[in-house]
Amino acid sequence: MRVLGVSAFYHDSAAALIEDGRIVAAAQEERFSRKKHDASFPEHAILYCLEEANTDLAGVDYVAFYDKPFLKFERLLETYLAFAPRGFKSFSMAMPVWIKEKLFQKDLLRKRFKSFDDGFDWQNKLLFSEHHMSHAASAFFPSPYDEAVVLTMDGVGEWATTSVAIGRGNTLEVEKEIHFPHSLGLLYSAFTYYAGFKVNSGEYKVMGLAPYGEPKYADVIKDTLVDIKDDGSFRLDQSYFNYCTGLTMTNDRFSDLFGEPVRAPEDLLTPFHMDIAASVQAVVEEIVLKLTRSLRAEYDLPNLCLAGGVALNCVANGKVHRDGAFENIWIQPAAGDAGGALGAALGAYHIHQRQPRATANGMDHMSGGYLGPCFEQADIEERLTAAGATFHVMDDDALIDRTASALADDQAVGWMAGRMEFGPRALGGRSILGNPASPAMQKTLNLKVKYRESFRPFAPAILREDMADWFDHDADTPYMLIVADVKEERRRRMSASEAALFGIDKLNVVRSEIPAVTHVDYSARLQSVHRETNPRFHALLSAFKAKTGCPVLVNTSFNIRGEPIVCTPEDAFRCFMGTELDLLVVGNCLLRKDEQSVDLKVDYSDSFELD
């Protein structure tokens, strides 16, 4: 039985295909359309999934959509009624969109699927899943557990913003929910907006900025904005927020509370903004920890699965892991709405169709997250030739040795190998790699390759077997979703003058043997690299370790600021020629920057809206 899952029409459209319960393919539309967070119908992603399964729409038994538009409309109407007459402006802008388009999503889906296959039996094949059920299904069914507590937290779906479900075998029962407008995701987004970043994409920046500041405002937030109960449930005081009725996340009362106006995008980041980021991060961590502790006490199960946008907060995830309330934690790598496509498909298969779930054998069912397109070597050579690239074809051993040498020489390397990752993190399939021991690497990559803010940290990819020697963490974290500290003995003692530095000035201080991936609080967002799921990346790290003694590489997504991660060899070559990357590896092709025609250099940094 084949089930196609689709998420679309809000942000991060995606498609996923499962065959007899096995995840065959999953990809986000933005990678094909080259529009970040593309919300349109994921036509390219669907076609890719069908191609990967060597079938067409007629060969698909069910199509599952990841949320329920009528329920969202109900929430919208009731919210406007509750706040009336405030919110009329928002109402008058929202209603035409809903009445013209969004209420008729089923019809839109029918038409789009009929354009693939005129005989598409939409009345029997098209299913709808609730938003948080899609998240929960994406967290539980691919996890390595037979039984688990499933916690989902995001901005908002239909009504739910936080949900708890219990997964057992092929069943998943929702136990309780927190409803809109009380939302952990929206609280974080409100501070993202207040700090001058873009809602829905700048949340990572708030998390990255937090270690530069002090949580000076955490008590103000808890005393005023959010009422947190002992079990982690919470309520937001809506008199400080504007998202129910206005076109912004926060209102003047919110700004008055902290004594500063909303920061304009690209304005200078001050210590105040760092303290604000640190404060909201501390509050969110407290809520998540209270939630997980109370869930362990209530359900007495050792396994926890997480999904929803808040589950991408890897600093909070790290705290949950270290807290130890649950023995085992598994987080869906595509925890945001793109993962809803996968969850909708898995939910339709296991819950709606009552199909059995494969017994867990210690491994999850995500294939390392490598669920996207792969390009054959002959195809890569043809595409690179057509793009005008000059390249060398090498065997695996020579290629890995040459790449490891370049990395040891502090070169920045574009690395495209095998299938593309599903989810927002690059995990060695579409990555930019660098030497973490180089003190200048963070700044170089941020300013000359990624063209993004210098404060933003980079993550380390490390051989799984060496992890405990370098970090205070010794469990699998293949999806870069857990933050842990660099081991004490790998840190460098700071001088008194260095310790006295504040904010961004801390950035230039060498803090450990691997400064490029050590954040200012000695933390790092870890990716454990496993021979079983990515043998090629594992071999590269091993070769780098043989040359330098260091089993760690800087691993950041292969893109520039605002650009979706590269998908095809042409995307990779364009990014290579548009940045100061020194070396590009695509499959078994190796490209040196100094061998490329200068005519092919492009400046495309303005092509993408900044995130």
Binding site: L77, A94, I99
Partner: protein, 49 residues
Amino acid sequence: MAFLLEMWEFLKVRKKFWLLPIMLVLLVFGGLIVAVQGTAVAPFIYTIF
């Protein structure tokens, strides 16, 4: 027509018949807005979708 039937089914399942008059007014009112505006451009409102 199929849409109206589905909407009716939805109201029955959710037991929210009190939304029916609001929805009917909205459909008329919204129809007018759409007719006057010509196009409906999605504004950036985080929670309307």
